[in-house]
């Protein structure tokens, strides 16, 4: 599989294939979708965090001229008797049933041909609740008397959740544990012990195309148009909810106006499906920006990390306890808890490791995947902790990392032996670029300068499947059918390059057919930086299959294998005219072994590792606490890039997004209410928030089981940003922040407390 690129299609910095459509405003988004007779839905949402629904008064809304219908959960149950969905737990009702569990939970929906009328009418709905006490903190949720769900209902998809079936009286949606070596003895024998606790805040993906889904009923069929990262999952889950065969549900996507993990699994799809069946009309729901904050968020977390360190600066044991605030519905949180959890000890070679990673239900809006799937929260803690240990022991932080690094050929905490993880190279390039050993201007007066670095790693998701089809038409042109969703990461271009490389044709000529479950084959989802590796391998195999069939056709026509007769001529000789197809199919599922339930150990945790590091130079104003990021250097191991230019924009964009989560973004809750669900009060990075300099580098590396040596990159640059900046702040002014975001207020308070 590690054939190197020879045709020159892989390795080209080809501009994105859809560039022209995007700069002219013609690119297709689900946002644009409209058909005659379509109804628009507006959701009425809970104003409280936790309560029993006494009554929902919808009559006034129904009476508004132009309103087609108003529905509550009882109506939904007429078409979907058991209307609970979710990828890990079947815990989320399409509209609230009996109880509401978070502010902003959908309770009722108004339908009208004019979306403004639906919005006006939704304002007239009144709900009465018996308010219940709410639990909002992830650590308190472990022991709270407030229970979010009376009974746990695992979906049955994941074997490690089955033991939770029917559990009562708990908010714990998964307790992942890993035990390696003898942690207790190692701590007892340690020269030094360090323990710190770190926290991260609730933030939101904020795709600029807000969630949008539509459904159109047919004769015993349903077509769903949705801005989704996981069309195959949507089809399976909607078919399950309706009790229909998969082939009666068709799911189509288009370009996504951003996803970042928000638009995964089921969001609005089950609701629009129910509404289309209830009304027998096409129904579309487009969320407003504020509603996105109630739909999915990034897990806030608390991480207690404790390390035993020997006299010579070796970490001999590490104990990690991580609490993930999953909100009121599990979404994919339990997978975050496990998949990220097993890397919580960091990219270090530690003999004795204990990890407990807890997924918790709370009365907050649900949390799910967000660009890194929990890894940025973990790296924030372990790379801050690593720096704090090095500083306390008077060891250079780079040197301390080098002493402890997990190198290829050594077992990671799970026992899986590291392969093709260029951790050392990433650190070397960071050190070189930032000029670690060279003199550094430390600023003067109230402006103090410092620098810091941080490195994180991530295991790819497994086991997951991708299938692709390459179709060669009789004129020799080529179409690629794959269900990978291009949400800005450039997958259309990368996949076209992979197919073109195998077929030895220009990548620009490959037509990439967008996800349509009636047309494009199964793909687990576009998430976790998995597409380049998983779908890339499937596309490569599909193209190889097509090429083999071309050779077979040559043989059938008594032509020598090396014959250079053009493809259209082959078709003419076979079919007597311009007719027929050659169809190549490829599928890919990497090998994997589930971790043991009691120890978390497995010899094969992941098909590949991603490594990302960041170096930061900052200037701290000691009078105001304001931090200016002067320089942000992102270095990553992403194997051999398929398209270096696009890869660099992924690194840069990922780092800028994480910079927002590091410096400024936080969903502010007070009295159960979300105070800032809008872009006026929840500030995402703009032009003015950029670091003065931003640099990106892909180290020379190869992922040997990846397509042409490549692996994923979408999340890599997010890993190190937060701790690199916190480490740089410490370097500049000697104060340590342990909670995100690193606002001027937080820095100023820390300075005051430290008497600086």
């Amino acid at each position: 599989m590690n054939a190197t690129a020879k045709a020159g299609q892989v390795g080209r910095s080809l501009p994105r294939l859809e560039g022209r459509a995007k700069v002219t405003g013609h690119a297709e988004y689900v946002h644009n979708w409209q058909v005659p007779g379509m109804l628009h839905g507006k959701i009425f949402r809970s104003a409280i965090a936790h309560g029993r629904i006494r009554h929902v008064e919808v009559d006034a809304a129904r009476r508004v001229s132009g309103v087609h219908a108003v529905f509550v959960s009882d109506d939904v149950r007429r078409v979907i008797p058991n209307p609970y969905y979710g990828p890990a737990f079947h815990d989320q009702p399409i509209l609230a049933i009996d109880k509401v569990r978070h502010v902003g939970e959908p309770v009722a929906v108004v339908l009208a041909e004019d979306p403004h009328i639906a919005e006006e009418a939704a304002r007239l709905i009144v709900a009465e609740y018996d308010e219940l006490p709410a639990v909002t903190d992830e650590v308190e949720a472990m022991t709270s008397n407030v229970i979010v769900h009376d009974v746990l209902k695992p979906a049955g998809t994941f074997p490690d959740l089955k033991h939770l079936e029917g559990r009562k009286g708990t908010n714990l949606a998964l307790d992942f544990r890993l035990r390696r070596g003898d942690v207790r003895s190692a701590f007892a024998a340690a020269e030094h012990v360090f323990e710190h606790t770190f926290r991260t805040q609730p933030v939101m993906h904020t795709p600029l195309e807000p969630f949008v889904s539509a459904a159109e009923p047919g004769d015993g069929t349903l077509t769903i148009y949705t801005a989704s990262q996981s069309p195959s999952f949507v089809r399976i889950e909607i078919a399950r909810l309706l009790g229909w065969p998969e082939n009666h549900v068709r799911v189509k996507t288009a370009f996504l106006g951003g996803g970042f993990g928000a638009k995964l699994y089921i969001k609005l799809e089950a609701l629009v499906a129910a509404l289309a069946l209830l009304t027998r009309r096409p129904v579309k729901i487009s969320l407003a920006m504020d509603e996105q904050f109630f739909t999915i968020t990034k897990h806030p977390s608390t991480f207690r990390i404790k390390s035993a360190v020997s006299k010579d600066g070796r970490v001999t044991a590490r104990e990690c306890e991580v609490w993930w605030n999953g909100g009121a519905y599990a979404d994919i949180g339990p997978r975050v808890t496990q998949k990220s959890g097993f890397t919580a000890a960091g990219p270090y070679d530690i003999e004795n490791v204990s990890i407990d990673s807890y997924a918790l239900y709370t009365n907050r809006p649900p949390a799910g995947a967000l660009r890194g799937f929990g890894i940025p929260q973990l790296v924030w803690a372990y790379e801050s902790h690593t720096d704090m240990i090095a500083r306390a022991l008077g060891i250079d932080p780079i040197d301390f990392r080098r002493r402890n690094f997990l190198r290829d050929g050594r077992p990671q905490a799970t026992g899986t032996v590291m392969q093709d993880a260029a951790t050392g190279k990433v650190l070397d390039r960071l050190v070189e670029r930032i000029g670690w050993g060279r003199p550094f201007d430390r600023g003067q007066g109230n402006l103090k300068r410092g620098r810091g670095i941080a490195i994180g790693f991530k295991a790819s998701i497994a086991p997951t499947t991708s299938v692709a089809i390459v179709n060669l038409y009789a004129d020799g042109s080529c179409a690629l059918y794959c269900s990978t969703v291009d949400m800005g990461q450039g997958s259309d271009t990368a996949m076209a390059q992979i197919a073109a490389e195998v077929l030895d044709i220009p990548a620009e000529t490959v037509r990439v057919v967008h996800p349509d479950t009636d047309v494009t084959p199964y793909d687990m989802a576009t998430l976790g930086s998995r597409s380049t590796f998983h779908m890339g391998n499937a596309v490569k195999r599909a193209a190889e299959d097509a090429r083999a069939k071309v050779d077979a056709l040559k043989a059938e026509l008594d032509l020598p294998p090396g014959s250079n007769i053009p493809l259209p001529e082959l078709f003419r000789r076979k079919y007597g005219m311009q007719a027929g197809n050659i169809i190549g199919i490829g599928s890919f599922i990497p090998s994997y072994a589930s971790p043991d339930h009691d120890t978390g150990l497995t010899p094969n945790a992941t098909p590949f590792w991603m490594v990302g590091g960041t170096g930061a130079e900052v200037e701290v104003d000691t009078e105001t606490g304001h931090v200016r990021v002067m320089r942000l250097i992102n270095v990553a191991d992403l194997g051999t890039p398929i398209n270096l230019r696009i890869v660099e924009t992924q690194l840069s964009g990922g780092a800028i997004m994480q910079l927002g989560f590091t410096m400024q973004e936080r969903m502010e809750f007070a009295e159960g209410q979300l105070l800032n669900p809008n872009l006026a009060d929840y500030k995402i990075p703009g032009m003015r928030d950029l670091p003065a300099r931003i640099e990106n580098e892909a180290v020379a590396a190869e992922q040997r089981n990846g397509p042409f040596g490549a692996k994923g990159v979408g999340e890599t640059a997010t890993f190190g940003v937060s701790p690199a900046i916190a480490n740089a702040i410490d370097d500049a002014v000697g104060v340590r922040l342990t909670e995100l975001p690193l606002t001027p207020e937080a820095v100023y308070r820390a300075l005051t407390k430290a008497g600086r």
């Binding site: 560039g19 004019d114 403004h116 996504l256 032009m687």
Partner: protein, 160 residues
């Protein structure tokens, strides 16, 4: 909410007449009557720039701008920027520099960049950042956008 009005305006160089609801925004009308989807509502507060439309040579936020106000005005959208198959230099520069990822904010950035270069043909980096600070890109393509503005400036100077 049911009051309607007939308005007439120039849309991308063509004179058009349309019946609108007085509560409808310019973005609503462009989408529902003219199938123009390049201006998009995102934040709904005039803070992200995704809904940028040019009315009488000034960029406005189309999601806050009532359609009734364009009666008699000249309206230009991203769809009117290219001349036939020939892209505007700003559009060419955005493609060459890879100055977008998901593309949702791109029409707004392209229109604002054109307006910036009309006013200030060779802006400094600081001027670029200041002028485009009202447009947001969640994919974080800002460094490439700044580069695209510079490239577009050079292209315009050399006549395309």
């Amino acid at each position: 909410m049911s009051a309607t009005r007939r308005i007439r305006f120039t849309l991308n160089g063509r004179s058009v007449t349309v019946e609108i609801g007085t509560h409808e925004t310019l973005v609503d009308v462009l989408r529902s009557r003219f199938a123009l989807f390049g201006a998009r509502e995102s934040c709904g507060q005039g803070l992200c720039g995704c809904c940028t439309v040019v009315v009488d040579d000034r960029a406005i936020s189309g999601c806050l701008f009532l359609a009734a106000r364009v009666d008699g005005a000249r309206v230009e959208t991203i769809e009117g920027l290219a001349t036939g198959e020939r892209l505007d230099p700003v559009q060419e520069a955005f493609i060459e520099c890879g100055a977008f990822q998901c593309g949702f904010c791109t029409p707004g950035f392209v229109l604002m960049t054109k307006q910036l270069l009309d006013e200030n043909p060779e802006p400094s980096e600081d001027e670029i950042k200041h002028y485009l600070s009202g447009n947001l890109c969640r994919c974080g393509a800002y460094p490439e956008i700044i580069e695209a503005v510079r490239v577009a400036s050079r292209k315009r100077k050399s006549g395309g």
